[in-house]
Amino acid sequence: MSSVQKQAIFRDVPGIVPKRPNLGQKIWKSRADYLYVAPAIVAMIVVIAYPIYYTIELSFFNTPASLSLADKQFNGIDNYVTILTSPVFWKVTWQTIVWTVLSTLFAFLLGLGAALALHREFVGRALLRGLLLIPWVISAVAASYVWKWLYHSDFGAIGAALVQLGITDRPINFIDNSTSALYSLIVVNVWKEFSFAMIMLMAGLQTVPDSLLRAAQVDGANPWQRFWHVTFPHLSGVSTVTILLLVVQNFNSFIIPFIMTGGGPVGSTQIWITHIYELAFLRQRWGVGAAYAVLLFIIMMTLGYFYVRALTRGDESRAGA
C-alpha cells in the first residue's frame, strides 16, 4: 500500500521515473519475510503437496494388493472408467448427496435459530452457549458410541422411550435397517455440528448495527421483517462461509458412519469417504481408490474456489474500509 502511494508521489515529480522492481528483486528484497512463513509452508508441502502428487500418479496405475510400487502397471484411465460405469458409484454418490445436503441444511437452521435466540443478553447465556457447544467439542468416536447405544435395537433408550410414550408398539430398529440407517446417522451428525454454525452466526450477528434494527422498528417493521430485511443481509457473508465449510466437512465425513454402521446395512450408509476407505484398505484396490480421491479433489477444489472467493470478498471490503 505504501509503495503504491510512493509511486504515485514520484510520478508527479518531474525528472524522476518510477522504476518498478522486477519479481526477482521483489522476492530477494523480502527474503526475510519468507523466514516467518517457511516452517508452515514446508510442513504443508511435505504433508499435502506430496500426497496429492502421489494420489494422482497412483490413479493411473494398477497397483498390486501388496502396495509394492515397483510392480505397478500403467493403465491409463481404466480406473476412472471402472468407477463411472459401476452402479455402486451412483448409489454411493446419491447417498453422499442426501447426507451432505440434509446435514448441512439442518445444522445451519438449528445453528441460526440458536444464534438468534442467544443473541440477546440474559442470565445464563454463556452457560447455555457452552452447553450447546459440547457436542462439537467432544470426539466423534465418543459421540458415535454414545448414539450407537441410544439407538441399540434391544436396549436403546430412544426406542424404549418411544414405546413408553405410546408412539410405537415395538422399539424401532434405527441403524440395523437399510431404510432408516442413513437418516439416523444424519441426526447424529447434525447433533455433532450444529453448534459450529451457531457460533459462526453468533459472531456474524454482532456485526449487525443496532441502529439499523432500531430504525426499522421505528418505521414499523415487525420482527420477521427486521430479520429478513436487516439482519439476514448482514449475515450473508458469514452464512456463505459457514455453509461452504459445513458442506466440505459433511462431504468428508468418515468417523460417524465408519464407527456406527461401517457403511452397512447392505451399503445403505456408504458415503464417498467410507467407500474410498473400503476400496483402498479393505479390498486393496489402490488404483480405483486413488481415482476416487482425484475426483474428490476436483469437487473440493471447485468448492474451495467459492470458499476463497467468499473469504477474499470480506478481505477486500476490510482493506477498503
Binding site: 523480502s30 504443508m44 500426497p51 459421540a143 454414545v146 441410544l150 436396549f155
Partner: protein, 297 residues
C-alpha cells in the same frame, strides 16, 4: 420521547409488544428443545456409566440407575488392573501427542500469521489461500501416501507421525485466526517501538506477541481438541497397542468387550472430560477469536 407519542399510536405499540413477546416465547421454546436434544445423549452416557452390565441390559431401561455404582470408573482408573493399565496408557499417549501438537502449532503459526498480516511479499495471497485449502481435503484420501511417507521418514509406530500430521491439520485455522488478531493490532504500536530503536523482531516479540495472547489461547484450544479427537491417522499409523491414543484405544477396548456398554460409556465420559473442561474454561477466547478473526468483515 414516549410522552410525545399520541394516543392514536397506542394500539399499534401494544400490538407490536405482543408480537415481540410471541417471538421471544418461540425463541425460548426452541432453545429449550435444542438444549434437550443436546444434553439427552450426554445424560444417557452418564446414567449408563453408573450401572452394572446387568442393569444396563434391561428392557424397559432403568431411566435412573436403581443401584448406582462407580465401579466402571474405578476399573478404568486402576493402574494395577489390566483394563486400567491400558486405559491410562492411552490417556497419557493422547495427552502427550495433543500437547506436543499444540506447542508446535503455536510456534509455527504465530510467525506465519504475523507475516501474512504485516508483510507484502510476492506470493503472499497465493500461499495464504494454499494453506487455507488444506481444510478442503479429507483425511482419508491422504492415508496411503502419508503412510508411505512416514515409512520413508522412519516414523511409523511413533507419536512423531501423528504430531507431524496433526500439526498440518491445525495450521490452516490457526494461521487464519491469528492473522485476524494481528490485523486488528494497530501497526502504529510497532512503528513507535521501531522508532525507539527496536528491531523488527523485537517489536514483534515484545509488543505484538503479548497483545495476541488471547488469539494464541484460542489457537491452542483448537489444536489441542483436534489432536485429542483425531481417529483415522492414529488408527492407521500406530499398530502397537502401547502407542495407541484414546479414540483408537477405546475402539480396541470395545471390540474385545462388545457388550460392556457401561464400561464403554464410562470410557467415553473420561475421554470427553479434558476437552470439555478446557473448552468451557477458555471458551470466551475461542468465541472472541472467531468473532474478531473470522467474521469481522
Amino acid at each position: 420521547m414516549t410522552s410525545e407519542i399520541t394516543t392514536a399510536a397506542e394500539p399499534i405499540r401494544v400490538a407490536r409488544r405482543r408480537s415481540i413477546d410471541g417471538w421471544r416465547w418461540a425463541g425460548r421454546i426452541f432453545l429449550t428443545l435444542l438444549v434437550g436434544f443436546t444434553i439427552m445423549p450426554m445424560f444417557w452416557m452418564v446414567i449408563t456409566s453408573l450401572k452394572t452390565g446387568f442393569a444396563a441390559m434391561q428392557y424397559p431401561p432403568q431411566w435412573w440407575p436403581a443401584a448406582p455404582t462407580l465401579d466402571n470408573y474405578w476399573r478404568l482408573l486402576d493402574p494395577n488392573g489390566s483394563v486400567g493399565r491400558d486405559f491410562l496408557r492411552y490417556f497419557w499417549n493422547s495427552m502427550f501427542v495433543s500437547v506436543a501438537t499444540t506447542v508446535l502449532a503455536v510456534v509455527v503459526a504465530v510467525p506465519a500469521a504475523y507475516a501474512f498480516s504485516r508483510f507484502r511479499f510476492p506470493g503472499r495471497n497465493f500461499l495464504f489461500f494454499a494453506i487455507l485449502l488444506r481444510n478442503m481435503f479429507p483425511a482419508v484420501v491422504f492415508l496411503v501416501p502419508l503412510f508411505i511417507l512416514m515409512r520413508v521418514l522412519g516414523l511409523v509406530n511413533t507419536h512423531g507421525s501423528l504430531i507431524l500430521t496433526y500439526l498440518t491439520f491445525g495450521l490452516p485455522l490457526a494461521i487464519w485466526l491469528l492473522k485476524g488478531f494481528y490485523d486488528n493490532i494497530p501497526i502504529q504500536l510497532e512503528q513507535a517501538a521501531r522508532i525507539d530503536g527496536a528491531t523488527r523482531f523485537q517489536a514483534f516479540f515484545h509488543i505484538v506477541m503479548p497483545l495476541s495472547i488471547p488469539g494464541i489461547i484460542a489457537t491452542s484450544i483448537y489444536s489441542f481438541i483436534g489432536a485429542w479427537n483425531e481417529y483415522i491417522y492414529a488408527y492407521t499409523f500406530l499398530t502397537r497397542h502401547d502407542q495407541m491414543t484414546l479414540p483408537v484405544g477405546i475402539q480396541r477396548f470395545f471390540s474385545e468387550n462388545a457388550t460392556d456398554w457401561p464400561g464403554l460409556m464410562a470410557a467415553t465420559f473420561l475421554m470427553s472430560v479434558p476437552v470439555v473442561v478446557l473448552f468451557l474454561v477458555l471458551q470466551k477466547y475461542f468465541v472472541r477469536a472467531l468473532t474478531e478473526g473470522a467474521v469481522k468483515h
